[in-house]
Amino acid sequence: MKLDYRKALEKAARQTIMIHRANTLIKMILRTIVRAVGLSHAGMFIYDKKRDEYVLQVSRGSRGFKIPAGFAKIRKDNPLIRCFTDKSIYFPGEIITADGVSGACESFGIGENAPMKKFLEEVKDALFSYQAHACIPGFFRNDLVGVLFLGEKANKKKFHDAELSFLSTLASDIVMALKNAWLIEDLNRQIDANKRLLLQTIASLASSIEAKDKYTIGHTERVAKYALHIAHVLRKSKPIKNWERFVENLNIAALLHDIGKIGIPEHILHKNVRLNKKEKKLVKTHPLVGAAILEHIEAFQEVLLGVKYHHEKYDGNGYPFRLKGRQIPLIASIIALADTFDAMVTDRPYHKGISREQARAEIVRNRGKQFAPCAVDAFLKAYPFRT
């Protein structure tokens, strides 16, 4: 049966594009190879950076030939690998076949090019150890990323050129897919590291406000905790768009909601008698000051909404804009509730904290007045915020 290489290649190319998990792709390609060429087995050894050697990643074939991933390896200094990497060997980078190596060995006369002959004998020996009848390198630029090991053809015949070039193309496809997969993994790792850095930066920023106002130690973290609890419950009854982004932003906004207080003198923040009109006006600027501080950060547009509107009230009696009902962004409604709850139950210069139960009752009383009904309902289900 003649193999239609072009079709098989096209199929492999399609698979390379469609499958992002490199291992799945290698498995499929090896299965194609074993079936299409009719091999006893095929395996792919992939370079392992940590071990600095090549480890068997996938193997396909009949019983006794198939080896579990990670069971076998081949060292970098193995003659088989050196054929592909050692520039001093005159055929680096080419495909190795058992027949080719035997032929080359025999072509040398007695005593002729003894070191090369010895090396080829070693290659032959290594091929025998790995039960390989052909080895095909997969390069990315100048790096040997993987090696395809092929067993014997079922009809015991030699590999012919068309087959070898077909297999060689598949090996490069695999390497390309691997490189892509590794790149994406690296990228994701970097993104995670950046996110962690961002959150830590925000936490330090948030604690800078707390350092200024000793009454609010731990406040921002508690508000963030309550807000996240409320959001998780709320989501069950009301779909929230871009949920993952939303919780990230909610967390950040809750941590930073009072950042604008940085511009308010400490003696006002610590005052234990009623504030005068002027002072009140100044305190009420903190949502806008906070928004002004954060507006330079392009990625914080939603965070900004939470900071700017966290003192708005559902009935329109809040500040600074007296927004009403659904004019208030959800992120701000949630923070407003979490913020008020924590403020009620902790001691402040101007009042002593009330009990959590009293605070809960107060929130119920203000459903649809100070607070958005949906936020209150979610709060009641999340209360008392056990993790």
Partner: protein, 124 residues
């Protein structure tokens, strides 16, 4: 040459591994007995009297080191080769102390494995 044949007992809970080792060892004139359970090793040894045992360490039913102790108690000259994913100095020392002939960690370099097998059987 029939009298040159050696007998090996292969113990590993993973079927693909025992199958592969069977295949590999047969190329060096071994008769191979395969089992998947550490608990069955001693009985298999008594029944088949192998010259060599290739023994996994981390098996769900019984620890390979315990199996090694058991086998060596039954036959102090038995040649046991540990093949394991446990790349751990302490475990290696323990195996050596219990009389293991060799301790090979996964992933295995098949070229080295072959050289070792040839060395064990004194057949360069």
């Amino acid at each position: 040459m029939n009298d040159a044949r050696k007998k090996a007992l292969v113990v590993d809970d993973e079927q693909e591994i025992v199958d592969f080792l069977e295949h590999f060892l047969r190329r060096f004139n071994f008769d191979v007995i395969k089992i998947n359970k550490g608990q069955e090793a001693l009985a298999a040894y008594r029944e088949h009297k192998p010259d060599y045992v290739f023994l996994d360490i981390q098996m769900p039913d019984k620890d390979g080191i315990a199996v090694l102790e058991e086998l060596r108690a039954a036959d102090a000259s038995l040649k046991v080769i540990m093949i394991t994913g446990k790349d751990d100095k302490k475990c290696q020392q323990k195996a050596k102390k219990c009389g293991a002939l060799d301790y090979i960690t996964k992933p295995l370099d098949l070229h080295e494995l072959r050289q070792k097998v040839e060395m064990y059987i004194g057949n360069p």
